[in-house]
Symmetry: C3
Subunit: 398 residues, 3 copies
């Protein structure tokens, strides 16, 4: 067997991730550290197989349902790629083409689309208090239908982003930095700065910084959350990060000073987000149907952003780091490229472009690993069997 | 071999369904009773295979074309599920994304999308006199192109609902009640009430009640069609029902009294529909481009509906039945859930929810069975071969 | 082995098409004549396999990305069919559903959608000077990402039409006429008239006539380009045609007289297009955001068209040919069917309908052959292996 694959299977043998089987993936902090390490090992194993032109397909047929309540390119393609790699066909639940508006409940729709569904991927990050709740409602619905014998299989829900967490993004990020530092065990003591950055656009999701502080604190890193006053994230997630850091032997600190966050950092993730209190207000206005209020809030928040145009990643700021890896979930607001003033200067972005694209390349594998672990009772044996079968992904006689 | 599968194959051996091969599925009453029983047996056989994690896939590649001339969730997903189960990829002919408006004929479009098409699923139920006609036009087109050597295979058309019949719905319903009563042979003498019910919405398709009276009369059932005066269905389909009943030893009766229909019934299907005469008028207005007239008609029909708000399924009404199974093709207008006044009270709906979801779960299998019977010259041998091959749908080493 | 397949493999053995491997397909005139003949042989070989119910699938999983910057039915389905035949799943990059507008670069998007992409099909024919440029930008992007180790495989770009060429259309046309005349070697000396025709619609793509004159001149044919004064195509492509004709021993001539072009022709392709100068002006107006100017230009060009209503293919005109094959990429503007005055009379169209549909049936195979040649290092050995494996496309026990 390929040495790298063997090593990954050996790693899996040391972990207890039995809870992943027939389970869902919503919040990284609801998973054990072993679970997360299993995702990393399986993602790398699937990548290993695919790079050696061995098909990692485990489904002969089956559907992966996608529900996107917001526009999306990269997450849509990542989910499609993960499903395709494993043999599932994506069927998109386009709410505009459906009859969902006709008074149908979440429970009913979730069941109706799931008769052949092995996976349901849901992205719902628009309104605070809504996305995660909706995902749990979908899970409860299909679980009940499975127990009632309506569904022949239990579909696994993979969160493709909610209002609280963005687990497929943060797990892809973790895969990337684990690769850069030679394994998750080497992340201990590394300083990572999750920093706010100025953007001329509005209401970028909180789930990205929350995902980072909620995940990276699991691995003994020194996680710094930096933002201007008033740009706090959800307090519950800060609590999670604090507790994680204590357990992992790392730290979680906060600052309103970007420079302080960057100083000596090994990794920086500077990215805009909307203030939590603003997003809470927005949800209330939305619930009240006050669209004028929403417009007024948008103007207010854009004005507020403009007071922090100096929160931009420049070569000078990067020079204060410990030769840090610059990361971004993309697309970024690049000065002189997509905007006049933005999150990052073009030279910093260009210097790290290849890295960020590699970062992104892990997302399909992270999603596929979550599905694989939910579907295979014995992932190691299944990986071994796939390797032994040696079925070419691209067949050609040479 | 699995005993249940063996029994289903044995059943097929007793039936003559040779006409199904390389044929289409438009109206249940154009099929022999053996054909319908073959659909039931094959649907159950495919479900049996899938439940035992045996892949029922017969296509290594091939397309299932879907043409939806109306929004749809459950039928769209049912068709996608059926195609996926058998190995076909769905390609949707989205008329908005196409150039069909550019003066292209049905014949041309049907051929152009069918070079790799094994199946074409069409839903076209919006205008009386249009849907079934269009489906026959598509069939004529692809048949001609097949004969001319343009198409290498003859695509099978499966009606996913037309203005006259809704065969995949009624066959799923039949699969469900056959399961509940222990086989179609036990349906003889059972009373089934197809009843109109009040809905605050407009122009629900006639094809649902028509499908029920046109199909259930084949099996010796006592079929009662109930509706307020003026809500008649197509007279041609009533004729079909009458003739069927006579041949099968059942009955077909009509009433304007919901209570009478429910009394002692074994199965009730209360559901709103638009009056046939109204829909005929609407088609004429549409043809004349009289959109003000269409709006006026809508208001008139909604007012007419309001005079029949007492056509609602309540626990009291259910108590008059023979402990009847309540069915609905979904989504239903549930009082206090999706509307103030509707087709059914919430307690009746909740008491039968699991059953209705099971009813819906048969639709993908009904569609897959129609395709399977059109594609396999010897379905029994093919089912046996699939069972013997024992290819896992979800592969995992344990 | 099947005799016809053997013959096609033998033919491939005589050709040098090594440049096709891991390459893209944008302009036919950037390919060697051997490359083009290899596409023809492989397309026919794939058709041979499929017609004998042998699966020509080479991918166990993988994505075919489609990017359509214009509505499309037949090209969309042809690409989907080609991908499906080979085992790829189409994932459409719908720019309306994506975040591309958020300042993202072509380079970034192209990479983000390509992690599992084996093929990218792009149709971008709307603006002169744009489509081909965009396609080259996509290629440069994914090539760089492949070299940087971001992508594990190099996606092949197949042009599904640009502003300059329409290679999958012209190659399908070539497959059709090669079949009609018993092989490309028999096309030498045949007269083919690529003629403008009147259409009541506006701005039909120049890439169709350009594709024809750029390709058919490779095979020693006498290619005549006919159009009213002012309806010239791109001068660069005329130069290509002239050079091709010289090299192949054919001719390339121009006329403003439709009758002259038809006289004695073996093949006629009469079809409307917009004048190049008009399209150049339109691109400038578009770049300047002058939408009133674009509307005025449209009116001017429609008026100009009307002066040439006599450019219509009639039975009388067809009678002057050498019993010519009438071709059209479809849909055509047929007099009395889709318009009052158009490109062709209904009787001429009807007499050649089956042929045109056969012409269209080659497009999926042409696309599949381009992909096959880009992916297989030894296409002959792979075809032989597929034939030997004899895996049924549609499995059934008889």
């Amino acid at each position: 067997m390929d040495a790298q694959l063997q090593k990954l299977i050996d790693k899996l043998d040391t972990l207890d991730f039995s809870d992943m089987y027939e389970n869902d993936f919503l919040l990284t902090w609801d998973k054990s550290k072993d679970d997360l390490e299993a995702v990393i090992a399986v993602a790398n194993a699937l990548r290993n197989l695919r790079e050696r032109n061995i098909s990692p397909r485990i489904f002969d047929s089956g559907l992966g349902i996608s529900i996107f309540r917001d526009n999306s390119t990269r997450t849509r393609f990542s989910f499609a790629s993960a499903c395709n790699m494993l043999g599932l066909t994506v069927q998109d639940l386009d709410e505009k083409k459906s009859q969902i508006a006709h008074g149908e409940t979440v429970r009913e729709t979730a069941t109706m689309v799931s008769f052949m569904a092995d996976v349901i991927g849901v992205r719902d990050d628009m309104y605070i208090g809504e996305g995660h709740k909706y995902q749990k409602e979908v899970i409860a619905s299909v679980d009940e239908s499975y127990k009632d014998g309506i569904l022949n299989q239990k579909p696994t829900l993979v969160s493709l982003q909610c209002d609280i967490d963005h687990p497929t993004q943060s797990m892809a990020d973790l895969l990337y930095i684990a690769d850069q530092f030679g394994g998750v065990e080497n992340l201990k003591g590394k300083k990572i700065a999750m920093s706010w950055a100025y953007s001329p656009s509005y209401a970028k999701p909180l789930s990205v910084p929350q995902a980072i502080i909620g995940l990276m604190t699991r691995f003994g890193m020194d996680v710094v959350l930096a933002h201007p006053e008033g740009y706090d994230v959800m307090p519950e997630v800060e609590d999670v990060a604090r507790k994680n850091a204590q357990e992992s032997g790392g730290t979680f600190t906060k600052t309103n000073d970007m420079a302080e966050a960057f100083k000596g950092a090994d990794i920086v993730i500077p990215k805009s987000w909307a203030p939590f209190v603003g997003m809470e207000e927005r949800t209330k206005l939305y619930a009240a149907g006050d669209f004028d209020g929403i417009d007024a809030l948008e103007q207010k928040l854009l004005e507020q952003n403009k007071q922090h145009m100096d929160w931009v990643t420049t070569p000078e700021l990067m020079a204060t780091t410990n030769n840090a890896i610059y990361m971004h979930p993309l697309p970024a607001d690049i000065e002189g490229v997509s905007c006049e003033h933005g999150e990052v200067t073009n030279d910093v972005f260009e210097a790290h472009r290849v890295g960020m694209y590699k970062e992104a390349s892990y997302k399909p594998y992270a999603i596929a690993a979550m599905i694989f672990l939910a579907k295979c009772k014995d992932p190691q044996a299944t990986l071994r069997a796939l390797d032994a079968a040696d079925k070419p992904r691209l067949f050609q006689e040479k």
